[in-house]
Each structure stands twice: as C-alpha cells, then as structure tokens.
C-alpha cells in the first residue's frame, strides 16, 4: 500500500493567459499522492497549457498556491527550488534538449547533477531504458543531429532515469511512432506502482480512453476550468 504523501497540490490556482502562456487557468484545484496518475486532456488549440511550469514552480500563479511534496514553490528560495525540481522529470511540450551537450550528457544531466550516483551507473540505466523503448544504441551525437523520432523516445528515457517523485509528460506522443505508445504507458504504470506520481498532459483522446491504467484520475480542460472525470482504480493487465 502506498504511503499517502502529497506529491503535487494545486490550491485554487489561477493564471491568466499572457505573453508567456497562451492558455489561462482558473481556480484549478487538485492534488496527487504517490502512485497517482493524472491525465489532463487539453482542447485543440490550447495545447500550451501552463500546467507543467506551474507544477515545477517555474511560473508563479496570479492567485492560489502550488505545493510540491508539501512545500509551496513560492516560499522556497531559488536554491531550494532547484533541489525540488531535481526530484521531478519532464517530457517537454517544446524542444527539450541542450544543444551543446551530446545525447548521453543530456540524458544523464539531471540525475548526475541532483544525486550522488556514479555516472557509469546512470549511463547503464539510460542504456537499459533506451532498449526498453526500442533504441538499441543511444546516439553519441548532439541533439540537432538526431532524428526527431529518436529524440522524442529519448525524452521518455530521460523522464524515467533515477527515482523521481513526479514525472510530467507534456504531449509525449507528439512526433513519436504510435506503435511505441504502449511501451510508454507500460512504463508509466510501472513507475506509478513504485510510488511515482505522473501528470500526463495530452490532446490525444486515445490516451484518455485507454482503460488499462492503474490508479488513474482523468481531468478535462474546458476553457480555463479543469473538470474532474471518473477515475479508475483498477490494476493494469
């Protein structure tokens, strides 16, 4: 049984649409505990929902508070915020790589920077995760030299490296082969069983309609409101 530790909590969060985000949110109120999977379906044309940057404390809401592991982002100093973000992983809705680092450096960066794990150990985990997602060899090139399909799957790899508390997936199927989707869903379910909270933001109905989720809660953005839908506490097959 999972410990009922709050991982992510939005309390009456409002953020207005502006220059940095095209979609606003009003009175968003939800929380996630260990092992939770939250699916947030966004409307077409409103894909750039600022949910991920808010969850990571990169954006400050106009009203309300966002808490990560019981700690309010706004109350934490910059150093503390970096440490807290080190316990999260994210598949970015926009380009998510540092172009002057090669792929392996990119993949190991967060884990090597935020933990004391030996680099060789992290690299081994990266290679193993890459094989799981159908990549036999991690490319040695820099991201600009890697095919977008591979890049997208390598973002999945990076999201699962180490022991994050929260994984945020922003439209992770964007540009990825459909056939590989099941592998990602399987990895997400396994991570949730280990106690990782997963926030999945998607504009693809197939993610929302998938029935084999474990401990999944579904939300739908309706304008600037987030509406909760029926949840599924069944087990994965």
């Amino acid at each position: 049984m999972q410990e009922q530790t709050s991982i992510l909590e939005f309390r009456e969060v409002t953020i207005r649409a502006g220059a940095l985000q095209t979609t606003g949110m009003r009175d968003v109120d939800f929380s996630m505990i260990r092992g939770d999977i939250a699916l947030v379906m966004v409307e077409e044309g409103h894909e750039h929902l600022p949910l991920a940057p808010l969850a990571q404390g990169l954006l400050t809401p106009d009203d309300g508070k966002v808490y990560f592991e019981g700690e309010c982002w706004e109350d934490a100093g910059p150093g503390r915020q970096s440490m807290m973000r080190g316990r999260t992983r994210r598949v970015f809705g926009h380009y998510g790589w540092v172009t002057n680092l090669d792929m392996m450096e990119n993949l190991c960066l967060a884990e090597s920077h935020n933990t004391q794990r030996p680099l060789e150990d992290i690299m081994q985990e990266v290679r193993s995760l890459a094989r799981r997602f159908g990549i036999d060899e991690v490319p040695e090139a820099r991201p600009t030299r890697v095919h977008p399909l591979i890049l997208r799957k390598l973002e999945w790899v990076r999201a699962f490296v180490g022991s994050p508390r929260l994984i945020i997936l922003e439209r992770p199927f964007l540009g990825a082969p459909k056939a590989d989707g099941a592998r990602l869903i399987e990895a997400v379910c396994e991570a949730a069983k280990r106690g990782v909270a997963v926030l999945w933001i998607s504009d693809e109905p197939r993610v929302f309609e998938f029935r084999d989720w474990t401990c999944v809660r579904r939300f739908r953005m309706n304008g600037d409101k987030m509406l909760a839908e029926e949840s599924n506490k069944g087990t994965s097959t």
Binding site: S82, R89, R90, G96, V98, T99, L109
Partner: protein
C-alpha cells in the same frame, strides 16, 4: 564538465593565437626599447622599461581584449542562443540552477584563462624580443644578460598587478558576457545586440579596472 570545456575553449584553444600576437608585440616593443635605450645610453633601464610596458600594461590589456573578442563574444552568443531556444528553461526544469550551471563556471574559467594566457603572453613577448634583439644585434646576445636585465625591473608589486589585472577583469568579462547572453528574451534578432553590448561593456570595464589597479599599485 562545463568548467573544463570552457577552459579548453577560452584558454587552451587560444594559446596559438596568443603566442603569435605576443611574438609580434615582443619584437615590436623589445626591439624598439633596446634601440632607444641604447641611443640614450640608458641600457641599464631596459629591464624596468620592458617590465613596465609588457608586464604591467600591454600583456594583461591585450590578453583581455583578445579574450573579449574571441571568447566573450562566443559565450554571449551561445547563451543568447540557449535562451532563444528555451534551453535555459530546460536546464531550470531539470533542477539545474542556470546561475550555478551556466554563469559561474564560465566566469571562473574566464578569470583563470586570462591569467594563464597573460603569463604566456609575457613569456612569449620576452622570448621573441630577446631573439629579435640578438638577431638584429640591437640587444644582448647572451640570454642570461637579457634575463637579468628584465629581472632587475621586476618588483613584488608586479606579481600582484598581473594577478589583479587578469583575474578580476576576466571574472568581470565572464559575468558581463553571461549576463548579456541570458538577458535576451526569446528573439533571435536580439543575439547580435547582446554580443555588441558584451564587447563594448567588457572593453570599458577592462580599461577602468586596469587604470584603477595601476593607480592603486604604483601611485
């Protein structure tokens, strides 16, 4: 990782160019100094004059200017490009503080490299000056005499002067370049302007620091 790469780019990769400039500067300054000191019958002042010109002023200043033109501009453009491509956000989202990961290693490496390159510049200048003086027979052919002449002009304050005129401006150049690069707000057309500001502000800062240190050291 970042620090070692920056040292490699700013320091190691610049050694060849610094050596060429130092050789040319050495020939020009040392030969002229030897000729004029000889004509004035003040050959014993050759050492102090060379130390004053090359060690105290020309060496550190030229190296600072070269590093601004060669590395600070590249650094500002690189960081501005990262900002435009939202790579800084990507680092931040992964728990890497941009100040600690991007700015600090670059500023520290810049300071260390300017110091190291200035030392090399001074050595190359004297070496080329000695060789050209000996070849043109305007200076001593015995290297020991040349070295003694230079060493007579060196005071302990010169050591601190070189340290201060390289480490401090190097650090400031690094901070200015990083700050200008990271100040770009997501528009590619702002990148050249950030580079231009880096050059003008860094040059000005180097000159101001150099003057202040000269006044504090030798007045």
């Amino acid at each position: 990782m970042v620090l070692s790469r920056q040292i490699l780019f700013t320091g190691y990769d610049a050694i060849g160019f610094i050596a060429v400039v130092a050789m040319l500067a050495g020939i020009s300054v040392v030969v002229q100094a030897q000729v004029w000191m000889g004509r004035l019958g003040q050959s014993e002042l050759l050492g102090p004059l060379l130390v004053t010109v090359i060690v105290r002023e020309v060496g550190p200043l030229l190296v600072n200017f070269i590093v601004i033109g060669r590395s600070a501009t590249a650094m500002a453009a690189e960081l501005a490009g990262m900002k435009v491509r939202r790579e800084v956000d990507v680092l931040d989202a992964q728990g890497l503080d941009p100040l600690a990961f991007l700015v600090m290693p670059r500023a520290i490496s810049m300071a260390l490299c300017v110091f190291g390159l200035a030392v090399l510049f001074i050595l190359f200048s004297f070496f080329s000056g000695y060789l050209s003086g000996a070849f043109l027979q305007t200076g001593p052919t015995d290297p020991a005499i040349f070295v003694r002449s230079v060493m007579r002009g060196v005071a302990p304050a010169d050591f601190y002067n070189v340290l201060a005129k390289t480490l401090l401006p190097g650090l400031v150049i690094g901070v200015i370049a990083a700050n200008e690069g990271l100040s770009v707000e997501g528009v590619a057309t702002d990148v050249p302007q950030a580079v231009t500001r880096t050059v003008t502000r860094s040059n000005l800062a180097v000159l101001i620091i150099s003057v202040i240190i000269s006044i504090l050291t030798y007045m």
